[in-house]
């Protein structure tokens, strides 16, 4: 990271943060965790990478704790029990195992909610003993939603709470930077930062401040542009604010069930998308945050594009931050950084998906993404250059593992035309049909709903009979442009 300042804008020099196309881990095994367990890592082309692992164990050296993680838990394995395929209904902290497959586990950051998994095939769960005191569980919602260049995930973790930004190392609980930016604010009526987005290309930081950390509807939105990149390796948070080129704000009243759900997508064109979970549904609105001049356009109405948009797909009982701050609404981007996704579960504690996918170039271009499973969940992760996949953990006995994969056109950012989504199928003939039809669909801006279809992968679940594979995020996808083109993306 210390060399980043020399590399930004360095012509053909590749940013050292840049990774190859996304990898994913797949955990498979028998349901009792003691006999056969496998963890394999695949690239976006579904080719296996890393070093293969496999083991046959008994109850005292169970695979998950005795071989790969904390051996002290190998015998009793009290924390997660044995059930890896719950339907995610009434689960709470006492039954972690039931939502380890939920969509809460993975967001745009390289670390995952409850585990760490490397590209070499090593997976370990965080200690359960103090997990409810951990950073991600309690204040993960304060992380910045970052819009970054192609192939780059956030390698620095910045948070924002009240009038203070801090930096952490990954999801550890130790501060490594601190800055009170209140002296730069033009309005301090609302004192609680409850959603922050950063666009690295624009060096633009946008914050939502609310009247409390609960459900207060009063908002002040602060917009900062700097000549210094917040992520630049040698810079501190203070450097960003010391070099501000413009500072603006606007005020508004926004309905929200819980302010911790606010998600902020700062577009490359200066338009900013704000999304959150609202009861069982979601809302998304877009505001013009381009420079207007001091004292100009200080109301939401003067900057908003059309109106707030409610999720247009199917909804049912589902939980967000109002049911526990760890259930906050998540944000991810595609590998190439051209499309973003604000999402939360369709069903209770983490099954299915309700999402807005928006063009990062122009957040006014967005559609609704719908998947209505009520059991057998898995997280969603970036996949390929311009897509996502995940969501499926059904029994792989006599069946290959499937995934809900979908992809966008990276050059499509015109909000006046439909959005094309590419999808797959559960048969090769369906994915490559004997006709000239699009496999996927074209969806109207704002109101269009794309319901995801499962596609076969050809991957098996990891054991010879009943098993429910778990999809896992990988903390490093490999250096971009490495010799193995599986990782390099070119």
């Amino acid at each position: 990271m210390s060399n980043l300042s020399k590399l930004f804008g360095g012509g053909t020099v590749i940013d050292p943060r840049k990774e190859g196309l996304p990898l994913f881990g797949m955990w498979g095994g028998s349901s009792d965790q003691n006999t056969q367990m496998q963890f394999r890592v695949f690239d976006s082309n579904f080719r296996v990478t890393g070093s293969p692992w496999g083991s046959t164990c008994d109850t005292t050296t169970n695979y998950r704790f005795g071989i790969l993680a904390d051996a002290s838990h190998a015998y009793a394995m009290k924390d997660h029990g044995t059930d890896f395929h719950s339907n995610l209904t009434t689960e709470g902290y006492s039954s972690w195992t039931n939502y380890i497959k939920s969509i809460y586990q993975v967001d745009q950051y390289p670390h995952c909610f409850h585990y760490t998994a490397s590209r070499d095939g090593f997976v370990t769960w965080q200690s359960y003993h103090q997990f409810t005191s951990s950073f991600e569980y309690q204040v993960g919602w304060t992380k910045l939603n970052q819009v970054l260049p192609e192939g780059i995930r956030p390698r620095r973790t910045f948070t924002n709470r009240r009038f203070t930004m801090r930096e952490f190392m990954g999801n550890s609980d130790c501060n490594c930077d601190f800055y009170d930016y209140s002296s730069h604010l033009l309005n301090t009526d609302q004192a609680y930062a409850t959603g922050t987005g950063y666009n690295e290309k624009q060096k633009m930081l946008v914050m939502v401040h609310s009247g409390d950390e609960s459900a207060n509807t009063s908002k002040t939105i602060h917009i900062f542009r700097s000549s210094v990149c917040l992520n630049e390796g040698t810079k501190r948070i203070k450097d960003f604010f010391d070099n501000l080129e413009s500072t603006e704000y606007f005020t508004d009243t926004w309905t929200n069930q819980c302010v911790k759900d606010w998600t902020v997508v700062v577009g490359n064109n200066g338009w900013v998308g704000f999304g959150n979970k609202q009861s069982n549904s979601k809302r998304y609105g877009v505001f013009d945050c381009n420079v207007k001049g001091t004292g100009v356009a200080i109301t939401g109405a003067s900057r908003q594009w059309t109106t707030w948009h409610d999720f247009a797909g199917s909804t049912t009982t589902s939980y967000g931050a109002n049911s526990g701050h760890q259930y906050y609404t998540k944000f991810q981007t595609t590998w190439d950084g051209t499309w973003g996704m604000i999402y939360s579960p369709y069903y209770y504690y983490g099954v299915g998906i309700n999402a807005f996918c928006m063009s990062i170039e122009n957040p006014r271009k967005f559609i609704n993404i719908n998947q209505t499973k009520s059991g057998r969940a898995n997280p969603y992760i970036a996949w390929g250059r311009t897509g996502f996949h995940g969501g499926w953990s059904d029994n792989c006995d006599s069946e290959v593992w499937q995934t809900y994969a979908f992809a966008f056109d990276p050059k499509d950012s015109d909000h006046t035309i439909q959005t094309r989504v590419y999808k797959g199928s559960t048969s090769g003939d369906g994915a490559m049909p004997d006709n000239n039809s699009l496999v996927g669909g074209d969806f109207d801006n704002r109101t269009g709903v794309c319901s995801l279809d499962a596609m076969r992968t050809g991957l098996h679940g990891g054991t010879h009979t009943t098993n429910y594979p778990m999809l896992m995020g990988i903390n490093w996808w490999g250096s971009y442009g490495s010799a193995d083109q599986s990782y390099g993306g070119k």
């Binding site: 339907n87 209904t89 049912t316 209505t372 059991g375 006995d397 109101t447 319901s451 009943t466």
Partner: protein
């Protein structure tokens, strides 16, 4: 009774008319009448029988969730028994 739109795979898609009718024009949705007061996760459309199916019909939401948990546990138990039997059989070979 209410109108609901399902995907061609029979999964819940949207309750909204503008979105649903647009998908209908594109051949991407099925329009059906569904009973009031049933959460969408319990609804599906049987494309062969051309009929709406309500999971745990006659039960309230809590009852349906409980039924789902029971069904899932039974499936898991059956899967475990099958897995154990397959392991024993393979070890006997």
């Amino acid at each position: 009774m209410a109108i609901y739109y399902f995907t061609n795979a029979g999964e819940p898609c949207t309750p909204f008319e503008v979105t649903g009718e647009d998908l209908m024009k594109k051949g991407m949705a099925i329009k059906a009448t569904v009973p009031d007061g049933i959460e969408s996760w319990r609804l599906s459309y049987d494309t062969a029988a051309k009929a709406v199916v309500v999971y745990a019909e006659g039960k309230d939401e809590a009852g349906a969730v409980a039924q789902q948990a029971t069904d899932a546990a039974a499936e898991a138990t059956a899967g475990k028994e099958k897995s154990d039997a397959a392991t024993i059989a393979s070890e006997a070979e």
